[in-house]
């Protein structure tokens, strides 16, 4: 009898030891840092990187991003405003401007994405964005008048007005061209930062620039896990793990906006109407190229519930999640397999097939 009692207590002790013996004792060797660059917060997450190396890389990345930000800034004096002035100057009869090979490559990629998006991502909306007041740190508090919007839309160039040959950009039309690479430039600099990290020997990292990110490698023996913010709440709506090297970009109506007479006016302007696109709350795109993901997130947001699958197909995007204003999800089959929903109860989900 005494034996049975002892063995029962020993079994209990054994279970306790089993539970506690292998408990985690160390944090993961992850370097995290936040820097202000590119007009936003950039969060760097580097696996297996010590503080000294991480701090050095952070400083170099901050300088690189600040230089890029100045170079492509749409309304502060710099190389892009010089280009815009040259292409809009009525005294410059040829309305041409020479750029570096690297800059020509960026502009070419933007124009190519604009064409595959049916011009929903449109890199020459500078004047329209400015009219809405989103060319400032603090946006306007009242929307522009209908007449102002019509006048501005009529003054915008078409994509066909722009050509690039041997690094020379030409305005072949009679309307001024004001490039604005918002909705694209962030993707370009994220891609460049990842390239820089790889050249510096970092193979496992996340670069998150103001909420849009690209992740490479893994966190040791587990994949990186990315949360996707709820468009109408403070928490995370869904999450997914990264498959080796992917960018996750979201466009939402909650990012930059102002409210007037109870109505929200956000920064994603439909180039067809001149007003903020208005059928969905957010679009998340997963793709291996950040610049493409950035432009696609903007274009699909503007395309709206009816047309986004067609535009996604045209832009070569297979992983898309739309959250509408009632928190209903529309998602492609490929992304649906990977998405985990973090809200209770789970959302209504519709799988949308690309044409």
């Amino acid at each position: 009898m005494q034996y049975r009692r002892t063995s029962a207590l020993l079994s209990l002790l054994f279970i306790c030891i089993l539970v506690t013996a292998c408990s985690k004792t160390q944090d993961e060797p992850i370097y995290r840092n936040q820097i202000f660059a590119f007009g936003t917060i950039v969060e760097l997450t580097l696996f297996n990187t010590n503080d000294e190396t991480g701090d050095k890389l952070s400083s170099e990345i901050r300088l690189m991003m600040e230089e890029f930000h100045h170079h492509w800034h749409a309304w502060q004096n710099g190389p892009l405003t010089e280009l815009n002035n040259a292409l809009s100057d009525t005294k410059n009869k040829t309305k041409q401007y020479n750029v570096s090979t690297e800059d020509a490559k960026v502009i070419n990629q933007a124009l190519a994405l604009a064409k595959t998006s049916d011009a929903l991502f449109h890199p020459t909306l500078g004047k329209l964005i400015a009219l809405w007041g989103f060319h400032k740190d603090e946006p306007n508090t009242v929307p522009p008048s209908a007449q102002q919007i019509v006048d501005t839309l009529n003054s915008l160039p078409s994509l066909e007005d722009i050509s690039i040959e041997n690094n020379t950009i030409s305005n072949n039309g009679d309307k001024p061209i004001h490039f604005d690479f918002g909705g694209f430039a962030k993707g370009v600099i994220v891609d460049r930062t990842i390239r820089f990290l790889r050249q510096s020997g970092v193979e496992n990292a996340i670069v998150n620039a103001g909420g849009d990110l690209r992740a490479i490698g893994s966190a040791g023996n587990r994949p990186w896990r990315i949360g996707i913010r709820h468009p109408r709440d403070l928490g995370v709506f869904a999450s997914l793990t990264i498959d080796n090297d992917e960018a996750v970009f979201t466009s939402g109506d909650y990012e930059r906006y102002f409210e007037h007479n109870g109505q929200r006016y956000h920064h994603i302007i439909d180039p067809r109407s001149g007003y903020p696109a208005n059928t969905i709350a957010s679009v998340t795109v997963v793709h291996n190229d950040s610049a493409t993901a950035d432009a696609a997130a903007t274009a699909l947001f503007i395309a709206g519930k009816q047309h986004w699958p067609r535009i996604a197909k045209s832009m070569g995007i297979e992983h898309v999640m739309i959250i509408d204003k009632e928190n209903k999800v529309e998602i492609t089959a490929k992304l649906a397999q990977r998405m985990e929903y973090e809200v209770t109860p789970p959302p209504n989900i519709e799988i949308r097939h690309l044409p």
Partner: protein
């Protein structure tokens, strides 16, 4: 008189221990999401770190002016800021490892850090 092999008290002890196993498992093996400190980043200044265990109100000078950050009962939040939209204040209280919010116009970020593993390595928005 012989004593029973396992008394009622033994049974109760074993039942309590077994009932507590899931909690012990979660505590010892599960991810620790709770933050322990708050990291305040102001552009151009040294990072500030404060324990979430000490209740206090901090005034932090940013690009536009003073933002007020409160630490209370293991949580931290923006209480006031000179920005127009007040999105930083609307973010509410942060307490989980990895939670981050910012007053971008005032160039101040607030993020919770901890000893454990955050649920998400990064948040897309």
């Amino acid at each position: 008189m012989t004593r029973p092999a396992i008394t009622t008290l033994d049974m109760l002890l074993i039942a309590i221990a077994i009932a507590a196993l899931p909690l012990a498992y979660q505590q010892l093996w599960g991810p620790n999401y709770r933050g322990t400190e708050v990291n305040i980043l102001v552009t151009g200044q040294e990072n500030q770190r404060h324990s979430l265990l000490r209740n206090q109100t901090l005034t932090v000078n940013g690009k536009l002016g003073d933002s007020v950050i409160r630490i209370k009962n293991g949580k931290a939040a923006f209480i006031n800021s000179p920005c127009a939209n007040k999105q930083c204040i609307h973010s509410g209280w942060l307490d989980r490892n990895g939670d981050t919010t910012a007053c971008l116009p005032n160039r101040i970020t607030l993020s919770v850090v901890g000893n454990g593993i955050a649920r998400y390595d990064s948040v897309n928005f």
